[in-house]
């Protein structure tokens, strides 16, 4: 791998990891909010 390829690979991986992190955080928040909403609705 040339340094340019290495740089491109690292940047793409960081982007994917960041996106996945945001999605997982969003899911945690969503499940929490859904749980409160459903308990409150009983």
């Amino acid at each position: 791998m040339t340094p340019e390829e290495q740089e491109r690979f690292t940047r793409a991986r960081r982007g994917r990891n960041l996106a996945l992190g945001l999605v997982l955080t969003g899911l945690v928040v969503l499940f929490y909010a859904m749980t409160i909403a459903r308990i409150g609705g009983q």
Binding site: M1, E5, R8, F9, A12, R13, G15, R16, L18, A19, L30, A33, M34, I36, A37, R38, G40, G41
Partner: protein, 304 residues
């Protein structure tokens, strides 16, 4: 081939995955799904309503990814789609398959937990309908593929409505029918002025298979059907006059534009204005009609 691809460094960007979900299609899906939810009688907790619309969007995204997984080799043959992540080689086919399955399964599961399993079941049905019945089975086999594909796009308002009411009644089925009948004239108008290379990819599109004159006749026929179906919610008493009159006016203009397309016999090099006008208007029409549906419901609620 696969061996060299697998040893190559993995450059896939998150945007490539995002592109798999067909974001532009999703905007219409979110809008009609939200309108179904807002126009339905009854109340839904805002958080659960948000989750329902999110699941409709995620499910559509999953179905879109599965569609691109299956059609990667077809997409590679057409100019419009050759730059998608799979034919361009930025993702591998399995990536799209796993991503599509994960989104589809995840959206159905969250829908079930948030709203209920009837709604989740209809969402699952809509994904299978688009990814399997349409994409894999019928699209490459019949020139009526657009009619069948319209069924996939017609699910969101039905799902949004059922998320609130918990049962399938005539009204959500009519919302389904409206988009179902709207899709063929919408798409065929586009097909008349965008010379696509579907023929090269072996997809039997109506203008190519049956000819342009037959396509123009079908456009008019569906537009008349749309007029009837769009007014039905008012006729059966599911909405008030605000929606009814809006549907009548909007659909009337639709039929007039479709009539122009029907009569048009373009020479070589024609600008194809009637076709472009009908296509542009058809998008506006759907926003206007569903907007009127929600407005009707909200205003009726204020009066009560």
């Amino acid at each position: 081939m696969t061996a060299t691809v697998q040893t190559a460094p993995y450059y896939a960007d998150w945007r490539d995955y995002f592109a798999l979900t067909k974001p532009r299609v999703m905007s219409l899906v979110v809008f009609t799904g939200l309108c179904g939810l807002l126009a339905a009688p009854g109340h839904i907790n805002p958080v659960l309503g948000f989750a329902a619309v999110l699941c409709i969007a995620l499910g559509a995204g999953g179905a879109g990814a599965l569609n691109q997984w299956w059609e990667a080799d077809i997409d590679a043959l057409m100019k419009r789609t050759a730059k998608r992540p799979l034919p361009a080689g930025r993702l591998q086919r399995e990536d799209a398959l796993y991503f599509g399955v994960a989104l589809s399964a995840g959206s159905v599961m969250i829908m079930g937990l948030a709203v209920g399993w009837l709604t989740a079941g209809i969402l699952a049905l809509s994904i299978v309908y688009y990814a399997v019945v349409y994409t894999i089975w019928l699209k490459p086999r019949t020139p009526q593929n657009i009619v069948i594909g319209g069924g996939a796009g017609a699910f969101p308002p039905l799902i949004g409505w059922v998320a609130v009411t918990g049962d399938v009644t005539a009204m959500p089925l009519l919302l389904f029918a409206i988009i179902f009948v709207w899709t063929p004239p919408h798409f065929w108008a586009l097909a008349l002025f965008v010379k696509t290379d579907y023929a090269k990819a072996g997809i039997p599109m109506l203008p190519v298979v049956a000819g342009e004159t037959a396509t123009r006749r079908q456009i008019l026929a569906y537009s008349l059907g749309l007029l009837v179906v769009a007014v039905l919610p008012w006729v059966i008493g599911g909405t008030g006059a605000i929606y009814g009159l809006a549907a009548l006016a909007l659909s009337g203009v639709f039929v007039v534009f479709a009539l122009d397309v029907f009569r048009h016999r373009p020479a070589e090099g024609d600008a194809l204005r009637p076709e472009k006008r009908l296509f542009g208007y058809s998008v506006l029409y759907l926003f206007g009609l569903f907007g009127a549906l929600v407005a009707d419901h909200v205003i009726a609620g204020l009066g009560a």
